[in-house]
Structure formats: C-alpha cells, structure tokens
C-alpha cells in the first residue's frame, strides 16, 4: 500500500519538555488514520510539525514521497487542514469564507464556484450560506470550519478534533461528511480524544501518550490488548455477600464489584456470559432492574496501557 505520509523519528521539545518523543508512523493512501490520545499527548503538535508550522529538533517528514517544507507549495496544494480552533472571518458570510479560503488554492473562478457549492452541500450549510459566523450555532460553525478546510478537494486531509463541543446532529453530519470524503478517495488523519468516533471512522489508530506511540493497529486489534472481553452491569437493589461469591465462581468471571446498587461483572473471555448470569440471578430470585453488556473500548485499552483515562 502506498504511503502518503512518512514520519520518522520526529522529536519536538519545548524547553525541557518533550512534546513528541522519537515518533515514527506512516499513513496509507485512502485510509482514515486516527491519532488518539488525551489532551496534551502531542496530537496537535504532531500535525503542526507535519504541516511545517512548527520547528522540530529531529526527524524527517515526507508527504506524497516529497520532503515537507514551508515552501513546498505543490505539496500544500493537495492538503486540506481543519484546525481545532475555528478559523473563519467574522466579517464574511458562510459562502464568502469558503470562497476566500478556497481561493488560496484554486485560481479558476468558475471551478472555485463549483467547489464552494460542493463544500456547502457536503457539510449541510445550504440554508445558511448567507449567514455570518456569529449567527451560527457552535455545531454549524464547526461545519463551516470544515468546509473552509476541504473546499478545494484535497487528497490529504488533516482533521484536528473537528467535533469538539458540537451538538449530536452536527456531529453526525460531520462524521457522515468525513465518510463521504473517504469514499471520494481522500486520505484522512483524524485526531480526537473521543474514542467512539475513532471506532466508527478509523481504519487504523495510533494511540499517543506523552508524545510517544503506545499502541497502534485497527480498532479491533487494539481492543484485544484490553485484559477483558466483556463487562456486564446490573442494577440490583439487594444482594448478599454469599451470592456475590457464587457469581465470582461462574464461568469466565474475572472480577465482581457491587457498589451503589450496581453490580459489575468483568469476564476475561468468552461469549454468552450474560445468559449464565441472568440464569443465576433468576434461580436465586434476585430482583434486578436494568442490565447492560459492554465490549471493551479503546478507553479500556488506554486504561490498560497507561493506568489513566483518555479524557483525564
């Protein structure tokens, strides 16, 4: 598979702090690569280094097989960036903003007009194209931010936490839009600390912590790193110590906790563990209200690897 980005031994320091520590990875053509990590893990710094916005102490970066540099204008022409901070002009309408930023890449006026229309369509801002940014809600503003970054139809797109603080409707719209971009052949680097988005969107994930890669692979491969297979939560009003002990002895059970009328049973492996538990509770005539079964998430993987939550 063709590599679109190759980062080798990237190191970036801020005085005594290593923001990125000997980082190496590749991004393959047509994939969505998720950069996952808590705040301050080095995701945005990595992107800024790749884009030649930040100086770095060590390492090499190649995009489309060419070294990346501030004056690599041909390379930049094929890149679209959506930064974490909304970057639009308050004085321009939705349509004008997209046209302005698209104009930095595309000179042909009629082609640009078409691109602007496509971008507005993609992010679902048709009704709002004459609106000014301050008239838009947070979610719509994020959509505009995305449209400004991708209107010129780039081959490589960086999306740096594009769904921070947006409403569910806008989030779904944004995620749908990203899927569409992938279908049209774009390669996407997606940074977030929302593991659910990574699981939905990404073909491959790199988990960063303190500027280092602590795990990488597909979401499914990563989940296998978690030291559990299934977690069952049951709302129970009362349960005896003896019953808890007996649950612990059920097949595949690793841990049992009862706290605030909530029973949590963690299974090391196996499927259909829920049925065994329900059978036991029925036989013992233990009254329960709600019952949930969860598979391990990337947060569990992160917890397993670092001992802390992704959103810490």
């Amino acid at each position: 598979m063709k590599n679109i980005i190759e980062v080798k031994n990237l190191t970036k320091e801020y005085k005594n702090l290593k923001a990125i520590d000997d980082l190496s990875f590749e991004v393959h053509e047509g994939e969505i690569l998720g950069l996952l990590g808590p705040n301050g893990s080095g995701k945005s710094t990595t992107i800024n280094c790749i884009l030649s916005l930040l100086k770095f102490e060590k390492g090499t970066i190649q995009i489309f097989g060419r070294p990346m540099a501030p004056n690599a204008y041909d390379t930049k022409r094929e890149i679209g960036v959506v930064f974490q901070d909304v970057a639009v002009f308050e004085e321009l309408t939705v349509e004008e903003n997209i046209d302005y930023f698209c104009g930095l890449y595309v000179n042909d006026k009629s082609l640009r007009k078409q691109y602007v229309t496509d971008a507005i369509e993609l992010v679902g801002l048709n009704e709002f194209k004459k609106f000014y940014p301050k008239q838009l809600s947070g979610g719509l503003l994020r959509r505009l931010n995305i449209a400004c970054g991708i209107a010129h139809k780039p081959k490589l797109i960086f999306l740096d936490e594009p769904t921070v603080a947006v409403d569910p409707q806008s989030r779904n719209n944004i995620l749908d839009g990203i899927e569409q971009l992938r279908e049209k052949g774009a390669t996407i680097i997606y940074t977030t600390h929302y593991m659910e988005e990574v699981e939905i969107l990404c073909d491959r994930v790199i988990i960063l912590d303190k500027g280092k890669v602590i795990a990488s692979g597909s979401p499914e491969e990563l989940k296998e790193l978690a030291n559990m297979e299934e977690k069952v939560s049951v709302e129970i009003e009362t349960i005896t110590e003896k019953q808890l002990e007996e649950i612990k002895k059920l097949k595949n059970v690793d841990e049992v906790h009862y706290h605030n009328q909530n029973l949590i049973v963690i299974y090391k492996k196996g499927k259909n563990n829920l049925i065994t538990l329900i059978d036991y509770l029925g036989k013992e005539r233990v009254l329960y209200d709600k019952i949930y079964s969860e598979r391990p998430t990337l947060n569990d993987v992160f917890l397993e690897l670092t001992g802390k939550e992704l959103r810490d």
């Binding site: 884009l51 916005l53 970057a87 002009f89 004085e91 321009l92 104009g103 930095l104």
Partner: protein
Amino acid sequence: MLFHNYKYALKILFKNKMLIFWTFAFPLILGTLFQMAFSDIEKEEKLQTIPIAIVKLSSDQNSMVPEIFEHLKNGEESMFDISYQDEKGAKELLEDKKIDGYLILSEPLKLVVKENGINQTVLKFVTEEILETEEIMKNVVMLEMNKADTLDEQFYQSIYMKIEKWKQENQIELNNISNQNLSYTMIEFYTLIAMTCLYGGILGLYLVNQNLANQSANGKRISVSPTQKGKVIITSALAGYTAQLIGIALLFFYTICFLKIDYGENILFIILLTLVGCFAGLSLGIMIASVFKTNENTKTGIVIAFTMLCCFLSGMMGITMKYIVDKNIPILNRINPASMITDGFYSLYYYDTFGRYFFNVISLLIFSIFMLALSIKSLRRQTYDSI
C-alpha cells in the same frame, strides 16, 4: 490570487464595525467637536490686543524688553497695547481690569497678573522666553569677557554683534508664538489628521494579524495554503492602506466642505504628506501586529494608546503641550510621528519655504522604514517554536 486576497481584505475591513468606527467615524466626530469648541476662541483670539503696562524703575532705565513687546504683531495690529506706568498706576489699572498684567523692569524681570486666561498665558509665555534668552545672552557676554585679554574696542564690537544677533534670533523666536501661530483650530485639525493617519495602523494590524500563524487561527489556515505568505501580507497591507486613504479623504472632504477648514493651497504637498503619514500609520500597525505576542484587542489598544499619546504631545489636547515639548524635550517631537505630520502641515501653512516640510516627510519615511525593519523578522518567519 492577489486580487482575490485584496478584494476580500477590503471587504473584511469595511464590514468590521469597530475598525470603521476608530478609523472613519471617530475622527469625524472629534473634528466636529473641535470645531464647536475652538472656533469661538479662535475668533476672539484674532481680534484681541492684549493691554499691558510696563513699569520702569527709573526714567533713564535702558532695557530691550519694551522694544520686544512693541515689536510683536498680531497680523497688522500690535500684539500688545502698552502703557508706561509707575508701579502704583499699573497696580490700579490691573485692579480695574484695564490691563491684563504689568511688567516691572527689575532685575530679574517681574510679571504681575491677577487672573488666569489666554491673554495672561500669552503674556507669561513671552516673558519667560525673554528671561530665558536674556540669561543665554548674559552667559555669552560673560564667556566673551573671560576669553578677552583686554576690554578694547574689538571686544565691545564683538559683544555688540552678538547682542544684535541675539536680538534678531529673539525676534524670530518670539514671532513664532505670535497670534497667527497660536491658531488653536488649525493645530487641532493637524493633530486630528495625524491621529487619523496613525489610527489607520489598526487596519494594517488587523489584516496582518490574520495572516500570521503564531497570532491567529486564520493565520494558521493561510500559512498551510500554497499561497506565498509575502503575497498575502503585501496585498493585505495594500488593502489596509487603501482603506486608510479612503478614511482620510473622507475626513478632508468633511472638514473642508462642512467645517470650512482651510488647509492652505499647497494641495500636492498636502497629499504627499498625507500619503506618507498614512504609510507611517500602516507601518506602525504592522510592527505591533508582528512583534507583540498578545491578543488582537490588546494590540489594537496599544495602537490607540500610542496614537493618543503622540497626538497629546503634539498639541491635540492643548497647544501649550507642543511648545513645552519643543522647548524642554525637542527630541521627543523629532521621533513622534504625530508631531512630524502636524509640523509638516504647520510648516506648509505658515512658511514659504519647504525645508521644514521635507524634513518632516523624510522623518516620517525613516520612522516607517524603522517600523518595517522591526517587523521583518517576524513577517519572514515561516515555522515557529510554538504556536
């Protein structure tokens, strides 16, 4: 691409209400207030001759002071209406408000006034000038005496020549504060133009700030585009300059057509000074945008505060300040862009020669180049240690 950026930069400026207020509306409002506040004072000032008395301590007392006061003109009229009195008579005249003050030709010269007002201020200013220059002259004489081997005819001739020279210089100096030059309204309007030129820096500041990756989110987005940073900054600065010129043209139009301000006849020189003044304002804005690492509102505040300070020192809030600075810290007015602009207009209006005018134009250009030189390192930078 260049026109694309220029067009949008202009659009951004003209849709920004805060920028429009400071650079377009505020000078018009201030101009109207100046006209309302100073036009009456100006009328009174032009008509008035200041009545004073001079008290000679002896009839044969020889002093150049009365001669100097008699020489000072208010247009065709004498600036002072002088009567010679004994001290008692002068005191009575002052009590009866028939004179604004009297001078006693004692050693040193003594001025007596009873009230505060424009006439008293002028009288005090002239007296202080005389005392100061007299002191200088005494020092010259003492120096010459110490140098001379003998007090012969040549020595006296030399002293006489120096005194004559002093008298001539003194005359020029005092003429500079004659009534024609105390035109409050004109000085206020010159400082108003200077203020508008420098406020224009806010426009350049805003646009350049939007182009720098380490200063704004838009700057990051522009920096990762394939458009050369230099081109974006130059077209943005050009748009800022265009908006500045439109603003200043509007101010001239308003003050000439509605407030009936007469800026003189040297229209080409006025245009040149305005162009250079606006360029100085633009350079100031670019420097503050690129060198200061703080948020945009703070930077705008810096431009406004700096401009107001410069205008204050060049006489916007009172003409006396300009003279105080000229007299005590002249270097301050040499490096103050508002003073350069004000003084450029002043010299066009009051002098027939252009030496002082061009000195100010060149000083403004040097100021602008210095500002741009300070900015160049930040403007050229393409990658940053942190953003």
